[in-house]
Symmetry: C2
């Protein structure tokens, strides 16, 4: 019987073990699943590279949050996705995220364009099996909460440039406007002016930053 090879990456071993038990015990039509697991960015890249030299993985299940080594640059699941696309372009990539947070989904959809996106609270035996079948035969597979975020994004044509997105991001993490000049190559009045425009764009003219944050969140930008 044909073998489908899947690599699951998550720093919680229980999670990857769960995937392994469920999928290796499942009855698929015409194939059996063989799972490998990895617990860190480094281990994952090694395995993906190694496999790509011979038979690449059919599916990569990537957790978005990966704990990082104390030294070295912090690497996210998104980075891993970008890496995997490059070295193993035929592998299907599925993100397993704890959050259905809009900002992250948008960013991953653009940086990696994965074949699947599952929100962890929605993962169970049935959805895992459906995901494997769909991703192999006719991607994409998104769970319901991911779809809600995607729909939100699709429903509007507002597209912000990098500076606008940075401003919203920094607002959302509490950076003071006057400090943003350190991260964004604009003058302070430039940033203030863009904030004004964003407020107007989102229909919260003459209101404070909290209103802008709420509006951006509702519209799926952060």
């Amino acid at each position: 019987m044909k073998k489908v090879r899947i690599l699951a990456v998550d720093d919680h071993e229980m999670t990857t073990l769960g995937y392994k038990f469920i999928l290796e015990d499942s009855d698929f039509e015409g194939f059996k699943v063989q799972m490998d697991t990895a617990k860190s960015y480094e281990e994952a890249t090694k395995r993906i590279e190694e496999a790509a030299k011979g038979i690449p993985y059919d599916i990569l299940l990537l957790d978005i949050q990966l704990s990082n080594p104390t030294d070295g640059p912090a690497k996210t699941g998104e980075d891993l996705g970008v890496f995997a696309r490059k070295v193993s372009p035929d592998s299907k990539i599925v993100f397993m995220s704890s959050f259905s947070d809009n900002y992250r989904i948008n960013s991953i959809m653009q940086a990696v364009d994965p074949e699947g996106y599952m929100v962890k609270t929605e993962i169970d035996q049935k959805s895992l099996q459906a995901m494997v079948n769909t991703v192999l035969n006719s991607p994409p597979y998104y769970t319901q909460k991911a779809l809600v975020a995607i729909r939100k994004k699709m429903a509007q044509d507002i597209s912000l440039d990098e500076n606008d997105k940075k401003i919203l991001y920094h607002l959302s993490i509490g950076t003071k406007t006057k400090d943003m000049v350190k991260f964004i190559s604009l003058s302070l009045p430039g940033i203030e002016n863009r904030k004004r425009q964003l407020k107007s764009l989102f229909g919260v003219e003459k209101q404070n930053d909290q209103a802008l944050i709420t509006a951006s969140r509702n519209r799926g930008f952060i």
Copy 2:
């Protein structure tokens, strides 16, 4: 038992009858379906308005192509969707389209933001039932081919302004560049220049219009 009221609009009566037979005979948990049908834009608006005065429809199934009366302005399913959102805001709207064509999906997602989108070749008893349940409980519901188009759009951050979209649209329907000045409020060199920029944006520099059309289609703009 609770009754869920659905209006199906399609100028092919066989289609709406099919929906009716399937859904009225289905066993749903906790409710029964009662279907009305309409064959034209006019009939549909009347029924929706009428219902909205009392108990609005729970779900509206709208065909995108509606044949039009010989006189009067041509009305599409999209127009009907916009109308329905206004007069019956609590109704869930689901589009039933013959095509999975990107341009149309994008446009409908922005103009109406429907709770569901089904490509007709993918509709069967099971998907209809799933659609009703999903749309009522946790929208959205999109069939696989709709998802493919949506994914394509999400995967890129390129957003074109109205003029760019008009240029691409007119290119796709064969309008000559020199004639576009009649439809687009730009000078001819202006249009030419935007075409150049679009080609560069889509990675088909120094190529002809056909290449631009193909690229835009691949990226889901037309």
